[in-house]
């Protein structure tokens, strides 16, 4: 029991750099496509690690399933919204950033 607590905390801790890189990407990347990329990928890995850590720390199956459901829902959400925003930006004629 103690071991799973520590493992769960370790997984949660492991997720923090991903959130940090997601926020840094949102602030520092040059255009909307690259920002979408940073936000919807890095943050999802971080959230996956945080929910996995919480699943290890809980003792009830219902809570673990609820956490899994939260993560899956966020995955679907970010995939859909990423594609929608990128498509709308392309239709508006926003050019993807190119390094010259």
């Amino acid at each position: 029991m103690e071991l799973t607590e520590y493992l769960g905390f370790g997984l949660t801790l492991l997720g923090m750099p991903f959130f940090l890189s997601g926020t840094t990407g949102l602030l520092r990347f040059p255009d909307i496509y690259t920002r979408l990329h940073a936000l919807t990928k890095a943050d999802n890995v971080g959230l996956g690690l945080v929910t996995m850590g919480a699943m290890l720390q809980t003792h009830s199956w219902v809570t673990a399933l609820k956490l899994l459901l939260i993560w899956l829902l966020i995955l679907v959400t970010s995939a859909i919204s990423c594609h929608l925003v990128a498509r709308a930006a392309l239709m508006r004629g926003i050019r993807p950033w190119q390094n010259r």
Partner: protein, 89 residues
Amino acid sequence: MNDASLILAFFLLFNLIGGLIRILRGPTPADSMLAAQLFGTTGVAILTILAKAMKMPALLDVALLFALLAAVVVVAFVVRFWASASDRK
């Protein structure tokens, strides 16, 4: 262990506040809406950690609701407000 979890929740909160700067700077409305997406993922992570650290399991339901609303918010923004006329069906 719970105190350390609270520190992690604080760290995520600062991430969230940092993301708010993008709302001020974002050249297009969609850049500002990305902050809503950030609230979706990071906010849910904060609630997940708090539910364990403060022994309030109800916060997990709040997290579920946040995840649901994040989807609706961004889709509504793009479809109703930001899509160009040619893209609109």
